[in-house]
Subunit: 499 residues, 2 copies
Amino acid sequence: MSKLLEEFQDYLSKMNQYEHVTTLLYWDMKTGAPKLGQAGHVEALTHFSTEAFALSTSEKLGEMLAGLAKPEEFDALTDTWKFIVTRMKRDFDRDKRIPADVYAAFVQTQAEAGNVWVEAKEKSDFSLFAPYLQKMIDLTVEITGYTDPGMEVYDALLDQYEEGMDSATIDGLFEDLKKELIPFVKEILLRQKPENQAFKGCFDTNGQKSVQDMLLDYIGFRKDAGSVGESEHPFTLNFSSKDVRLTNHYYEHDPISAIFSAIHEGGHAIFEQNVNPEYDNTVAGSCRYMGLHESQSRFYENILGRNYNFWLPVYDTLGELLPPFQAISLDDFYREINHVKNSFIRVNADEVTYCFHIILRYEMEKAIFRDHVPVNDLPALWNRKMQEYLLITPANDAEGILQDMHWSDGGFGYFPSYLLGSIYDGMLLDTLQEELGDVDELLKSGKIGEITAWLNRKIHRYGSTRKPKDAIMAVCGKEISAEPLIRYFKKKYTKLYQI
Amino acid sequence: MSKLLEEFQDYLSKMNQYEHVTTLLYWDMKTGAPKLGQAGHVEALTHFSTEAFALSTSEKLGEMLAGLAKPEEFDALTDTWKFIVTRMKRDFDRDKRIPADVYAAFVQTQAEAGNVWVEAKEKSDFSLFAPYLQKMIDLTVEITGYTDPGMEVYDALLDQYEEGMDSATIDGLFEDLKKELIPFVKEILLRQKPENQAFKGCFDTNGQKSVQDMLLDYIGFRKDAGSVGESEHPFTLNFSSKDVRLTNHYYEHDPISAIFSAIHEGGHAIFEQNVNPEYDNTVAGSCRYMGLHESQSRFYENILGRNYNFWLPVYDTLGELLPPFQAISLDDFYREINHVKNSFIRVNADEVTYCFHIILRYEMEKAIFRDHVPVNDLPALWNRKMQEYLLITPANDAEGILQDMHWSDGGFGYFPSYLLGSIYDGMLLDTLQEELGDVDELLKSGKIGEITAWLNRKIHRYGSTRKPKDAIMAVCGKEISAEPLIRYFKKKYTKLYQI
């Protein structure tokens, strides 16, 4: 190993310590820290994020990366280190253009906005959140001006979360979905079934936690390399492939929410736990492509978790852990978890109308960054779009524009990833069945481990080393298309609703 | 404010960020991190502890402290800042003598030993822990040689946890206790009652958590400035008065353990939550005197929590939250929580025989540091002393020498603090009753808030600014004596056991 590479690796190891503690501070703020303790955490997070930023934009790092990029060093690197150097050099050249004070302001506002969002949602008062949202938008625009000068802001944001994606491509995919799904959902809604009151009962939250543990184990989440916390909104984060954390939120009168959040976050977590451990603590590890990440969480949640056969081997156990389920047949449960209806909350939406929730947010974000719609007009715009696509209007902001944490976190451009993930899932399902056989049969016979092993092999182990388009091409041998997802929806729901 | 003071305060604020994240890493290792994630945390803890150590021993800090100690700066300081500068200068002069690599080795060994201790205790295998214990002993001796050159090692350790205490003083206090309590416990044991089998039943751990929350609220722990986690052994830590964390461990077949651990740790936490917030993040805050700290946890646990009248206002609620208690009368509960018996586990011991558990550990530590008894001989020595004082011999190391985490953490000299705390409690109880009236009457009428307010005013708010001997003198007007504790024991247990 060259002296320069050794020096570089020591430097990365130091940088990693800062990322480690900022990750932990964030985790604890969301899961454990008391109200009055938040300010101390924000202060520490600001301090260490700023230090980490200084390390990631230092002259020294720039010199090392420039040195390693020279042929005499670069040619001697392994493929993994070639990837790391190339990727870090590109990020470095982008990030060093962000002034340190702007970055510090972003991190601090991110933390404050997160706390205010929780309060605003509790009080259903968008006006509390509005000034923080405005700050996050302004800082995002400002930072994008530094990182991607001359690029259209929203395209830059999309590329940041799903490299290689732009709004022209997404417009095409989403228009295909709209064209096919708007009339299809109308057909479904004509055959709408009444609400099943059994799911409105009281489901002990401790029992829900036991069900969650059972399901995480069943789908392949490893407890020795991960843990579970409780937060306002479920999320997953990781320190490395050896320590992956997910959270959940339990509602006494809605057991379905925590069950599917667990499977969803479990899918994210299984991805991270199975990245090649050699990539740990480098830019090659921890998948940075959000659409590809969502494809895994949504594969577990929807393609597997909302399949009748997924539940056959575990439904009795579900009833043992959460006794009210003993009075609910698997057929009723299956209908409930695939009950297509127009509803307000994205995370509780069925997998079909979910598409509209994302298309709405995608169009909201285009309105913010492309049409510069004022922040105070956003709740009304949200409500109009809800009415247009889902034929319903939120009674308040908590069930409207305040429902998601993403914007408080500065995560503009993230939402389309969810639907891109489902689009990839349609394609992955086709290929998985070609290679492993019928998914219904695999699930029915409890062979979900084979599916997880296939995803480990085909997707997870690569971490960030393959961009989404390349990953899908490598696994499926095709360009990205919404057709398989549409076909999956039509086959499943035509049967379920006897259309 | 002088320019130097301002510069000093900025420096302290930076130092505090490092303490903040090392505290958080420790907390998470004990409460949330998965097994495979421990190594990453140990690495980060080592990194940031070493950085913190560098900051706390830097030339720059030394110069600032020397400058502030000069009359022209010192005289202009407030009393609080005079205390901070004096105390930090003394600590600085001690700590800067520790070589950085020795300190880093100590922190890393501390983390590793903590993990190995958990495993050794699970497997009841002292041989796993022995090499780590040896390392902790060696490092402790080495570090004490730097911090307190020429001082007897064990006296230096005692002084570190309870400033102003030495083994000559403790020998005197503990001999008084032995002299009075050995025959008194014999009297009690002659009147021994059979075990109450009701407490061996199954007590839902979620119900135990609800009881814990109720009790913490009842004694005055504030949830907005603290939170509760789960760990192998209960402990309390704090970031500041605004964020105080405690942990508990729940046993399905022993509800008493978690109840009294909650009250005990709650007492520690109430102390920290009520330190003058102006002292936050300085050496004036967060009480550093372990005996004084234990006096508060043990006042809540024993003087209040094991008093019949404490339970009168909340016993019905206890039964609602943990239904098996509905079948147990308050009289039976009272007898159970004051059931004097010779037992193996310190944290489950009654308050009388508890004294022997501490005297044993005190004598073990004198054997380690004064008589240099080899590590491999310690389990046998432990067992002989158990037989001598408590007339029983542990069947294995898990219920013997491996039961406490303290030594894994390098906390030699800490154990005597528990009993010093109880000795102070006897004195505090006398004074409290002189000033507020009969404690039974206060508790019976649910006026525990008045007691907490009295302790806040008399002890808590001062944080570290008053040494234990000075604090007890200021509150009670007397030198430290074991007589009030002995009198309290005799009065209570003579009645209870009809001696």
